[in-house]
Amino acid sequence: MALRFEVLGRFNRARAAQLTLPHFACQTPLFMPVGTQGTIKGLTTDQLEEIGCQIILGNTYHLALRPTSELIDELGGLHKFMNWPRALLTDSGGFQMVSLLHLADITEKGVTFQNRIGADIIMALDDVVRTTITGPRIEEAMYRTLRWVDRCIAAHKRPHEQNLFGIVQGGLDPVLRDICVRGLVDRNLPGYAIGGLAGGEDKDSFWRVVAQCTAALPEDKPRYVMGVGYPLDIVVCSALGADMYDCVYPTRTARFGTALVPEGVLKLKHNAMVNDTRPIDPTCACMVCKNYTRAYIHCLVTKDAMGSQLLSYHNLYYMLQFPKGDVPEWVCNAMDVAGIDISSCCSS
């Protein structure tokens, strides 16, 4: 165990906590931008620090390919390689590696690569199945995930510097999810992720799985909902007691010219933006909204690297700043009607 998790405030199931990792003391709930290849596309580490990024997610498969985990290790680990002073999380690389390596090797190799890369949090290899699938495959994947966790634990060479998180699988089946949660909790891991979601299931099923898992997972350990996501989903999951999130959406959508705003999204590429002299979001305090008009960003997006950069900056600022409490009023109202209490996330 290489972390400390201390709940500082609660409202019903939602909690605000301090997650102290080897490289950084984080405040949860938090959003983790995805820096697949050892960089967030178009942003420097300075800028990421400035907009409040606490943990960056790295992709083990891609890094193992280029520049290789051995090279990263030789140069002192990923933190040093990319000069990121705060926390890192790497995924197991399993999903992408399945097609290349023999199944029996992946489990341990994934952990070995992650040990070399040196992230604060590393993910156990899980057998991921889409929630849209039905049948015995889901049960098979869930039990396999539990067996693999044991192998990951055995292969983990740096338990005092890196935290191995287990991932709860089981599709949309509450019985399977329950078995998986209990199995993982038995292994007494530093933290737990809720996997297999954010893949196309309907929202009503999605939140129920999250609710069930957060109810069953230990109170005093962090809970990470993988692949989430849309701002509204983060709000809902936080209300239900989750603490950590990751998604490519904010940065990817920026590169296609779409900005995240309280009302939803703003497509800067659209003709209507040509002469619109308003900022992207008048309520946003980021450098982009304080200095640039929609008209100017419009002429940059999809044509110039600068367009991607500025929009990525704004979108990440939006994601990183809002879970702390800038929840728009309309969302609070909607949650009211839906019967979900999120007042702990709303600014007081």
Binding site: Q37, G38, T39, K41, G42, L43, T44, T45, D46, Q47, E50, H62, R66, P67, L71, E74, L75, G76, F81, M82, N83, K267, K269, H270, N271, A272, V274, N275, T277, M287, K290, N291, Y292, T293, A295, Y296, H298, C299, L300, V301, T302, K303, D304, A305, M306, S308, Q309, L310, Y313
Partner: protein
């Protein structure tokens, strides 16, 4: 705008000071204009710009043509036909009238005016902008299509003809600190007749531009003349008697040789009053800049940094003027010619040192060659951002050493030594291979 010459060296090279209204400090010349695309650097985002040395880095080049389509009328409910440039990849289509089409055209001059001009639009209030139609990276003069009504340029949106009226409309809405009049630039191989026409046309457009000159903003009269000494002289003399605040020397970097350039430059500068600043486009490489300085040019717009950056190169040539030439320099087979390194080379995969030891740019203070090598290999945008920062920083350092040499009265030696040391390294490379 205020300009004053402070020191001279070797006759013509001058160190001066230019003061622009928007910049808090004066800028020393000879100085480098940073290349921009639509007013912002190509890769360095505005919040990272401040990491570059100031006030050296406060002067930015800008081409109004970057905001393509700015002078077209808008389509309203698809009925009006407008001349609008719609960019699809690298192709251009004219006359598209689909109302809700996704486009990337620039804001109209009216919009830019309502925003408050260029400085306001790009959020760089304490920077100086020099507007010139030609931009050696993206807006290249296309003399074949230029005619008596306007100058033609190859732009990312296709070929564009700009009339003086349209050009001035853009200048008026953008309010740059200084701007060059519209010029008809021809390449070095243009025939005499075409060349002469270009001089006549450029002077005529100069008068038309001045007639529409907005209040505020310094006019730089454009001088052309190709590779004909007489025409260069004639044009310079014509422009010298016009009511302008400085001179923009066009037509260079379009095919003339290193050998013929000095006399062409001198043909221009010898016929210009000494007290007004001279700006030039198209002299990118260090040796070319030195030629410009030797002829008495003060402001330089260079595409060198851009080309280095997108090629994955980082400048490493020594800036320390007291450094002795290393005669025992061994050529290694790394991607280096001692003036720059190619960070894609595999030899840098594990190199945990900065690009240049002791360089205090953001890139060298924070990152290693190994990391940039990785970024280049995986095609990550951050590579270009970091390289543009370093290369700009380094080239600004080069301009600083030029100014120091002039102030110390030894510019000619500086130029000779610099050119020689680079030739020697190239010669050494040849011998050892």
């Amino acid at each position: 705008m205020k300009f004053a010459v402070k020191a001279l060296s070797s006759g013509k090279a001058r160190a001066g000071v230019v003061h622009l209204g928007s910049c808090p400090s004066s800028i020393e010349t000879p100085c480098l204009l940073l290349s921009t695309r639509k007013g912002l650097p190509i890769f360095i985002s505005p919040d990272l710009l401040s990491s570059l040395p100031s006030p050296d880095s406060n002067l930015l080049q800008f081409s109004p043509l970057h905001l393509e389509g700015a002078s077209s009328t808008l389509v309203s409910s698809g009925r009006e036909v407008s001349k609008r440039c719609v960019n699809i990849g690298q192709e251009a289509r004219w006359g598209d009238t689909t109302p809700n089409f996704d486009s990337s055209e620039g804001p109209s001059p009216k919009t830019i005016s309502s925003i408050g001009g260029l400085h306001q639009m790009v959020g760089l209030h304490e920077y100086g902008f020099a507007a010139v139609a030609r931009d050696s990276i993206q807006c290249l003069p296309e003399c074949g299509s230029t005619n008596k009504t306007g100058a033609s340029f190859e732009t990312p949106c296709g070929r564009r003809l700009i009339k003086p009226v349209e050009y001035m409309e853009m200048i008026t809405s953008m309010k740059p600190n200084l701007w060059a009049t519209l010029a008809d630039e021809v390449p070095a191989w243009a025939n005499n007749k075409r060349n002469k026409t270009s001089v006549d046309r450029t002077v005529k457009w100069l008068d038309e531009c001045i007639a529409r000159s907005p209040a505020g903003g310094a006019v730089f009269g454009s001088i052309v003349g190709g590779s004909n000494i007489e025409e260069r002289k004639r044009c310079a003399q014509e422009v010298a008697v016009r009511n302008v605040s400085g001179y923009w020397i066009g037509g260079f970097g379009l095919g003339e040789s290193m050998e013929e350039r000095p006399s062409l430059l001198n043909a221009v500068t010898d016929n210009l009053p000494k007290d007004w600043p001279r700006m030039i486009c198209g002299l990118g490489l260090p040796e070319e800049v030195l030629q410009g300085v030797a002829a008495g040019v003060d402001l330089f717009d260079s595409a060198y940094i851009y080309h280095l950056t997108i090629g994955g190169f980082a400048l490493t040539f020594p800036l320390d003027r007291t450094e002795k030439i290393d005669y025992n320099y061994q050529l290694s087979d790394q991607g280096s010619d001692r003036t720059k390194i190619n960070l894609r080379a595999t030899v840098y995969r594990k190199d945990a040192t900065p690009i240049v030891e002791d360089c205090c740019c953001y890139t060298c203070q924070n990152h290693t060659k190994a990391y940039i090598n990785h970024l280049l290999n995986v095609h990550e945008m951050l590579a270009q951002i970091l390289l543009e920062i370093h290369n700009t920083h380094h080239y600004l350092g080069f301009f600083r050493s030029i100014r120091e040499a002039i102030k110390e009265g030894c510019f000619e030696q500086f130029q000779k030594k610099f050119v020689q040391s680079r030739r020697e390294h190239l010669a050494a490379d040849v011998v050892s291979v």
